[in-house]
């Protein structure tokens, strides 16, 4: 597993984490309030995302590659094409096979797919240009309950430990997944292989719980009482405030435009 952050010397990287966090959340918020079929507005949202990818020296290819993670969302919205509002039109696929689809549903599907895709891009841009610790500090400075921030921080920290553990377990399993002499491949039924994988997941779960208990004991040993020390809050600079205000205003205008441009 790799860290999401990509070191670059760009104006986007230098922005205060709070600015980026607020604008990214607002971007996702307004994007998802955009009505179905507001194509011009959606294209502008996409353009904004691509522009930030270029300004931050990450490149569009980098963002496109990572945004493939949005694919499962497409799948979830896919049935809309057939279950959308009437009327349903016939579509001939094979000479003797005709299916009915709903144009309104298709429009909705494409809108949802685009929104999911662009929202993921915004999240990718935020995490690739901002160190995770900075995002955590920003969350704390924005008065998110400290316990939440602690939980998110610890999860992030141990995600890497556990993913290393998974890698080592998979290595150990591959090492013993051999072919009998004279045979080309390994054997074992699918059911058995699935059961082994289940056992691995179970043992990982038990080990993670035990690790969390050890971590907690170690925290208590160092005086943890359920409250992490607050990080000092530096007020936002005037320039940062200006960037936030401009960004929010722009997003608001873009959203109003999307309401008008819906056919």
């Amino acid at each position: 597993m790799q860290d999401f952050y990509r070191q670059q010397a760009s104006p986007i990287h230098k922005l205060d984490a709070r600015v980026k966090l607020i604008l990214a959340l607002a971007f996702i918020f307004f994007l998802n309030l955009t009505p179905d079929g507001a194509w011009p507005a959606l294209i502008i949202f996409l353009t904004v995302s691509f522009s930030i990818a270029i300004i931050s020296h990450l490149g569009i290819i980098f963002v496109l590659k990572r945004s493939l993670i949005a694919l499962p969302f497409f799948l979830a919205a896919f049935p809309l094409i057939f279950s959308g509002k009437s009327p349903h039109l016939p579509l001939q696929i094979l000479p003797n096979l005709t299916i009915f689809y709903s144009p309104a549903g298709l429009q909705r599907f494409i809108t949802i797919a685009l929104k999911a895709w662009i929202s993921v891009q915004a999240a990718i841009l935020l995490t690739a240009t901002t160190r995770f610790t900075d995002i955590l500090t920003a969350l704390q400075q924005m008065k998110l309950p400290r316990l939440w921030v602690t939980v998110i921080g610890l999860m992030w920290r141990y995600l890497f430990v556990i993913s290393d553990e998974v890698t080592r377990m998979l290595h150990a399993r591959s090492s013993r997944s051999a072919a009998a002499p004279g045979k080309a491949k390994g054997a074992g039924t699918l059911f058995w292989r699935a059961r082994v994988t289940g056992n691995m997941a179970g043992s990982l779960f038990v080990r993670s719980i035990e690790r969390s208990e050890r971590v907690y004991t170690a925290m208590l040993a160092r005086g943890y009482d359920g409250q992490l020390p607050a990080s000092s809050t530096v007020p936002l600079t005037n320039r940062a405030r200006l960037v936030i205000a401009t960004g929010l205003l722009g997003l608001l205008l873009l959203w109003l435009f999307s309401l008008l441009s819906t056919s």
């Binding site: 290595h171 013993r176 997944s177």
Partner: protein, 234 residues
Amino acid sequence: MAAIIEIKDLSFSYPDGKRALSGINLTVYSDEKIALIGANGAGKSTLFLHLNGLLNGEGQISVKSLPLIKKNLAQIRAVVGVVFQNPDDQLFSPTVFEDVAYGPLYQGLDQQTIRTRVERALCDVGLSGFSQRNPYHLSNGEKKRVAIASVLSMQPQILVLDEPTAGLDPRARRELIALLSELPQTMLIATHDLELARQLTPRTVLMNAGSIIADGSTDQILEDKSLLLEYGLL
């Protein structure tokens, strides 16, 4: 003696760019027992992960004259048995039996052969009668032995062990060394335990920062205190 593992000019960098191995040349002969010593981060474990194709660096490796390429992986993994440093990574089944039977089951052997192999392997490591226990609840030394049994049940010709004595109490360590000295396989052992090398392995290879610094008789290398001190082993 015939060469059983040949490594030629092996180099490897991790995806984050960290260079882990550079220009490794090593030949292991049949029935040899070799200690691989070196400080933490010297590249011992990385080298081991190459011996059965879990990592793919640049260079050539052949095992029993089979080049280590994707097509031969399944066969090579039957020849090279790797025992990992942390037994918990290796043991993932609810019972010791299932863990030791994993390799033979994967090979598609028949039930009777599997049962014989598991019993034999558990007997070899001195854990007969443990087959229905949960590996998670064993002591560290016992877990180590189960991990070794789970590899022995595949009847490999080469045993590769990553720090087998790390974290063991003196008695468990002594018993483990005795066990390893009785096993007939060709052995490659990564270790910080110089005493183990002295007792078990006539040949020692010293690694540092991804390269082999010295390769020779254990007595000679362990005699050279300044060498050991320089590379963080004393």
